[in-house]
């Protein structure tokens, strides 16, 4: 059950829009079926009403802040903050954006919500099949939190769904339901913070021999289609210039021919296992001390590659080597911008 009251949330959003304190509010709207939602942009008080807050609210909205940096949602001269609904896992993304100095704290108006967990469509699909849930219920039903689990509310009653079989894996080991930073919190603050353990698959993989590990990852790399969805949905991939398509800075109206001709070409467009590996390893590495395990990459991947196993490893290492956890506090310095005389160095001859 959530302590976030939908009416209270609605009033808060309406209040923010009426007072003209924010330019746009980013929330969720019901998506293509009961299990899905998509980002919703509210710009005036009379648009309020389409927003939802339910177990279907899986997408992490922090990405929309990053999108706004490159493709402004509103007129560029509108300097008012963006309003955004954040859960206990998403706010870490905002903290990282602030730490990386992409945004300032005052540029976002955070409406915190209490989220007991959201659904994973891939799991839902399996459940739909196994439980023979009717097409009508899938299309027209609505998800609700029910006790510790989730249910589909339909005109003919509620169909309850097992928590383990439907929730995102990150929700199954949730680190806290409400955000650490917020301007308004709708619901009751979740004060217990449970530090996340790296998934046991990570430890299992670590124990394998190099060739066994490579066999596992080569299979993953070879299935990647290089759509870059994992990058484009990621809360830490906010670089203007990406290693795999380094053109945004090099190709501008005033850049000189030599710059354009000599721009680095780290990896080709060919989607072979090694090129894909380069991309995925590089991306994972860039998450060192920045990945917040929102597991959006896993969710966005159209081939459903276990990308979180890369990112959880990087997060685990940051914790073990440097006792560093991304998204803990805006006061922290970015991991790689600092150094310490006592850093581990046993691997160096």
């Amino acid at each position: 059950m959530t302590t976030t009251d939908p009416n209270e949330l609605r009033n808060a959003i309406r209040g923010l829009l009426e007072s003209k304190k924010i330019r746009t509010f980013i929330g969720w709207e019901q998506g293509s079926n009961a299990f899905r939602s998509r980002p919703l942009f509210l710009r005036s008080p009379d648009e309020v009403g389409n927003e939802i807050f339910s177990p279907a609210c899986t997408p992490c909205l922090v990405r929309m802040i990053i999108e706004d940096l490159r493709y402004p949602l509103d007129k560029p001269d509108d300097k008012r903050p963006l309003g955004i609904a954040l859960r206990g896992c998403d706010d870490k993304g905002v903290i990282e954006l602030i730490k990386d100095r992409r945004i300032k704290r005052e540029e976002v108006m955070i409406v915190g919500v209490d989220c007991p967990g959201t659904v994973d469509w891939t799991k839902a699909k399996k459940l739909i099949k196994d439980r023979k849930i009717s097409t009508d219920d899938i299309v027209n039903g609505r998800l609700i939190w029910k006790d510790r689990g989730i249910a589909i509310a339909t005109p003919s009653g509620e169909i309850s769904l097992e928590r383990e079989k439907i929730l995102m894996s990150k929700c199954l080991d949730c680190e806290g339901h409400t955000p650490r930073i917020y301007d308004v919190l709708i619901g009751k603050e979740d004060t217990k913070r449970i530090p996340a353990e790296p998934p046991k698959e990570v430890r299992e993989l670590e124990a394998r021999s190099p060739d066994e590990k490579y066999e596992f990852w080569d299979d993953v790399f070879s299935r990647c289609i290089r759509c870059y969805a994992c990058r484009n949905i990621c809360t830490y991939c906010h670089c203007e210039e990406c290693a795999v398509d380094p053109t945004t800075l090099a190709i501008a109206a005033d850049s000189i021919a030599a710059d354009k001709a000599n721009r680095p070409e780290w990896v080709g467009r060919d989607s072979t296992d090694s090129s894909n590996g380069f991309y995925l390893i590089t991306r994972a590495y860039h998450g060192t001390g920045r990945c917040i395990s929102c597991e959006e990459c896993d969710r966005a991947c159209p081939m459903r590659l276990p990308l979180r196993l890369l990112n959880r490893k990087v997060r685990k290492d940051a914790k073990e080597l440097f006792d560093y956890d991304a998204g803990k506090s805006v006061e922290d310095k970015p991991l790689l911008s600092e150094t310490c005389d006592n850093d581990p160095g046993g691997f160096i001859w």
Binding site: I251, I256, A257, A258, K260, A261, R263
Partner: protein, 279 residues
């Protein structure tokens, strides 16, 4: 089975001529196919394009600057812009490029017989124009008056400067050149090409205008021409877009349903007005 349209033919650079200097300098490469059969089967119209390859760097779609009346060697005027064009600039005599083509529709030079031809260009836009006016000058008696109005930023940015002077001296065409800012030894017009068009006020009767150059030039020139009562169907221009395949398959050079590589690059202003503003 038909020929593989993606397979370039090897050609040798036989001459390199530096046209202009600076960061975006222009060089004209003259290339000859290595295979005699390919050379004789490669027939093209003025305004058509070819894909030049430098192996390991990639391909680039370049207008054929020469006219089919100039013999079997092909000429390409290349402005140094990015990866492939920079490498093309490093090529010296005897080195190889890959060429495939010709692509695109080209100018309907046959339909223009008996007309006054007015070529208006600027910068590297003179590359396709040169192909067309060279063709017209070679078949001089097929056409009525020919004039060339060309603008560049400075006098050293004028592509084919000597050639244009020679044409003016031979009397084959009237040549009007302009530069954007005054220079001490420049006795021609100073101002943008569109201003020069306004000043010269060419007559629309029995005339065809062919204009090519930077987008701003094309836009301003067309505006002037409209004021001078030219018909949109009598103004030809060439469009460009990023191209990869050159044969209408890779799907990126479209403007609405029209593919620039296959249906273009030559369009009349009338045709362009039918297209969505996806330029």
């Amino acid at each position: 089975m038909n020929r593989n349209p993606y397979l370039p033919d090897l050609a040798t650079v036989v001459d390199v001529r530096q046209e202009t200097g600076g960061d975006r300098s222009v060089r004209t490469l003259t290339v000859e196919f290595d295979d005699k059969e390919v050379a004789s089967s490669f027939t093209y119209k003025p305004g058509q394009l070819a894909m030049l390859s430098v192996f390991g760097k990639g391909e680039s779609m370049i207008s054929i600057t020469s006219s089919p009346t100039m013999g079997k060697a092909l000429q390409f005027s290349v402005m140094r812009m990015g990866r492939v064009t920079s490498i093309l600039h490093y090529l010296t005599k005897g080195e190889k490029v890959g060429v495939r083509g010709p692509y695109g529709n080209g100018f309907p030079v046959g339909e223009w017989k008996g007309k006054n031809l007015i070529f208006i260009g600027g910068g590297i836009g003179s590359a396709p124009l040169r192909s067309a006016y060279s063709y017209a000058l070679h078949n001089r008696k097929d056409y009525a008056d020919i004039s060339i109005i060309y603008g560049a930023r400075t006098s050293s940015d004028i592509v084919f400067r000597d050639e244009l002077r020679a044409i003016a001296e031979s009397g084959g065409a009237k040549v009007e050149m302009s530069i954007d800012k005054p220079e001490s030894d420049w006795d021609g017009f100073v101002g943008f090409a569109a201003m020069n068009v306004k000043r010269l006020a060419p007559k629309p009767d029995n005339a065809i205008v062919i204009t090519c150059g930077p987008v701003m030039l094309i836009k301003t020139v067309i505006k002037e021409l409209m004021d001078l009562h030219f018909k949109p169907s009598e103004i030809y221009t060439t469009l460009e877009n990023k191209m990869k395949c050159g044969v209408g398959k890779c799907g990126r050079c479209n403007i609405g349903p029209v593919l620039v590589c296959k249906n273009g690059p030559v369009f009349t202003v009338e045709q362009i007005r039918q297209l969505p503003s996806d330029l």
